[in-house]
Symmetry: C2
Subunit: 246 residues, 2 copies
DNA sequence: CGCCTTCTTGATGCGGTTCAAGTAAAGTGG
DNA sequence: CCACTTTACTTGAACCGCATCAAGAAGGCG
């Protein structure tokens, strides 16, 4: 039995301090544009690669990722999608869906009315600005990823991605009391995300573990020494402002 | 003496078929928001890295690039900016300017009124949609770049970037009768763009030249065998639709 | 229980980096 | 107009970070 449809007023995500508050009329508008929810199992294709899907989603619960593959099967994971992230902005605007989206865990998405965008801009310009903000923020994450894959060593990449994902997950309330988060990526996922081989990710993770910098086992990640991990990863992120949630 | 200020009505870029037509009221609005022009010499910093610049530009003429550097000096070029590209959307929306922008050739930018964005959305929703389209399109280019740096061989990256840049430049009317374009990137730029060393870019380019696939000399690029170059680069791009120009 | 996926470890080798030196061309100042 | 500098490009030699191949161990799960 699928989980019940959640009205935006009682959206559990929106309660989080990480998200920018919305006005009542804005919330009502968003609610009106929400046409349903979709659930996918872990490993399922949310948007098959190459398929055109003119549908805009918000990730309500679970983790997913965007990816592209080369004709011969080499895969690059472009970004990890966490709760609150927008899915399908590119497909909605650009004619082709340039990348696939796959669920890492069981996932719930809020589906919005197709071609809602112009309505948003015309009736709630501030929400339109928020959407563009989200797009710009995604591009900033991509910038960091490209810097890492292009110019960081394997050790730096692994250290940096762990800090990055831990922070993003904790920001949307995924950390327990001891700062642990559920971490559904396999080492193969990390490899495809970082432009490395799975074997090398394995060896690099072990070095971090033995140094006591991280604990990563049984699908749970905890940062052992944040300062050291940042230093190893050459990773200093700017503080995240409260972000919009559509 | 700086070049004269060009009114948007007589914008030489807008005449190109690559760009989506605008209505008269839209054009008038854009004109009203244009507060000036800025010129930079080749090699100059348009936006210094780490500096906050709440200013939105359109690149009117010349080439530039976005980049990030690590504390120890390793540099990654994130994207090449060609005429018609928007500059500073991230800085405008996000509080920090996460990357620097540097001119590759002498460059002219149209500067828009700061904080114009909300005005755009409120008064011309379709233009707002266009801006989001541009942001999504930039992210698509970043996706490709990340796939290349993460998963393509050096040979494939070099071949692919030459096809990509040639196509983009030709699209905005930079090709002469024989399909040659002015190509202001040094091999060091290519290296920083592709996540390679300059030495290896040099050797890879020579292999392409000796195979007759490209001619690249004296700052001019011509594609010798497009089909072969695409095959080598594993590079098949989707056809570019007419794009908006703000 | 048997299968499948994930993780682990060792051995080998290549693609690409680094270091170094030299050539060529384009400014720059006297 | 010519020394001097600077920047871009080129080539060779040595090395190493990471990939690849292979095989085994340790769980989940039907």
């Amino acid at each position: 039995m699928p989980p019940p449809i959640i009205p935006c007023i009682r959206c559990p995500l929106r309660a989080h301090a990480a998200f920018k508050p919305v006005t009542a009329p804005q919330l009502g508008f968003i609610q009106k544009k929400k046409v349903g929810q979709s659930d996918f199992a872990a490993g399922e294709a949310v948007v098959p690669e190459g398929e055109v899907s003119h549908r805009l989603y918000t990730l309500l619960a679970g983790w997913a990722f965007r990816f592209k593959t080369l004709p011969d099967g080499r895969r690059q994971i472009l970004n990890i999608l966490l709760p609150g992230d927008l899915v399908g902005l590119q497909s909605e605007l650009l004619s082709a869906s340039p990348h696939g989206v796959e669920a890492l865990t069981p996932v719930t998405l809020c589906a919005f009315q197709r071609d809602m965008m112009l309505d948003v801009y015309a009736n709630h310009p501030e929400l339109g600005l928020d959407i563009t903000w989200i797009a710009a923020n995604e591009e900033r994450i991509m910038d960091d990823a490209l810097l890492g894959v292009g110019r960081r060593t394997a050790m730096e990449r692994v250290a940096a991605i762990l800090v990055h994902l831990h922070k993003r997950a904790a920001n949307v309330g995924q950390a327990d009391g001891e700062g642990r988060i559920a971490f559904p990526l396999t080492q193969t996922h990390l490899a495809d995300l970082l432009g490395l081989s799975a074997v090398h990710v394995n060896r690099t993770l072990q070095r971090l573990r033995h140094g006591g910098l991280v604990r990563l086992e049984g699908g749970t990640l905890a940062i052992g020494d944040l300062r050291a991990l940042r230093r190893v990863g050459q990773y200093w992120e700017q503080p995240a402002p409260r972000r919009p949630l559509i």
